[in-house]
Amino acid sequence: MAIAVLAFVVLRAAVVPRSFGQYGHYRGAAIAEIAARPVAFAGHDVCEACHTDVVDQKKLGRHVVVPCEACHGALAKHADDPASVTPAKLDTAVVCARCHEANAAKPKGFPQVATADHSGGLACDTCHQPHRPKIETKAETKPATEAKK
């Protein structure tokens, strides 16, 4: 009987992962393993630390709330190694339309256009500056530094 109990304890210790039961009825080490995975999106704070000129431009327009990687994609690798990993140039005819193509289900106040009628296939950045999209007249246009004052 004692040998059976001992065998059970030894076998259990060998078979059941050591961290099983640490937090509950699961392998506690799994939490740390999942948390240790690398990230793909760096986060806008990381982008803004270097690209301050773009931040200044964005502050002047409605795209100030749009995070960098919403358009530019995942760039954690670029943030880790800016010299050798460079983001691809965006096709604004595709990227802008994702948000601004007219759709009855979009909020009524959200700026939207039927791109085929609006631009006739031209890339959006032919007329709009993506970081500061409103087309301004000369009088409205102020340098970023002046407008901040």
């Binding site: 937090y23 392998r27 799994a30 939490i31 393993e33 986060g43 995942a74 994702r98």
Partner: protein, 243 residues
């Protein structure tokens, strides 16, 4: 061998030591992140969602989600005035590439992002026979890929249809609330790229989190409240037709 009272008393301390060894495991918590100081949830502000699909694409890239499967997806609802009980719901490719133009022919049209509701009393964790899926002390439902058998019980148990079997690993998969990001002080990939702020990660244990003010001043709902799952993904401005 007969077990006498004396022998039993001699064996018990050894058994106790062995049991402690089994249970102790190796503490691997990050020194900068305390599991017990957080209780994660998410806020979805439906009137802000433009159905651009950024969240779906970001989720797929961040979490290596196979093509044709979704940890998060967007549904477009069309609720005709006379058919409120039977809304038309579509989600082409999970809304990954946005939605084709839809004519405004009356009724209500809106987008609803969906994801794992991170239930506090989750049915999926209760049915797992091996303890491969669980609620962490900080309120996130996770899947231990190294322990999952792929039995699909959890896929059937989830009332929200948030789980699938990953064809590469043959294990259950679902939104992990980007656990590898939030434990590093980042927000989830879907919240990071949302251009309108329709998705907000929230920590219910953080008294300074704006979620508390939002919950106090808005009428928010959870999906399928009658299931009593303790869902922690809160929806603002949700139409009664949403299921």
């Amino acid at each position: 061998m007969d077990i006498t009272r004396r022998r039993l008393l001699m064996l018990l301390p050894a058994a106790a030591v062995a049991w402690k060894y089994v249970q102790a495991g190796t503490p691997e918590a990050s020194p900068n992140y305390k599991l017990t100081e957080h209780w994660w949830s998410m806020l979805i502000d439906i009137p802000k969602c433009i159905g651009c699909g950024s969240c779906v694409r970001a989720c797929a890239e961040e979490n290596d989600v196979p093509e044709g499967y979704y940890r998060t997806w967007i549904e477009r609802y069309h609720v005709a005035d006379w058919k409120i009980e039977r809304p038309e719901v579509e989600s082409p490719d999970g809304g990954k590439q946005g939605f084709p133009p839809h004519p405004d022919d009356g009724g209500k049209n809106f987008f609803v992002p969906k994801l794992c509701n991170q239930c506090a009393d989750s049915p999926c964790t209760q049915v797992c026979p091996v303890g491969a899926t669980f609620v962490t002390p900080d309120g996130v439902v996770l899947v231990d890929k190294n322990y999952c058998l792929g039995c699909r019980y959890c896929v059937q148990a989830c009332p929200y249809g948030c789980r699938f079997i990953n064809p590469k690993t043959n294990t259950a998969e679902k939104c992990s609330l980007c656990y590898h990001r939030i434990t590093k002080g980042l927000t989830t990939a879907c919240c990071e790229v949302c251009p309108t702020g329709a998705r907000q990660l929230a920590d219910l244990k953080n008294p300074k989190d704006p979620i508390h003010e939002f919950l106090r001043t808005h009428t928010v709902q959870v999906l399928k409240p009658h299931m009593a799952t303790g869902a922690k993904v809160f929806y603002n401005g949700m139409d009664g037709s949403v299921r």
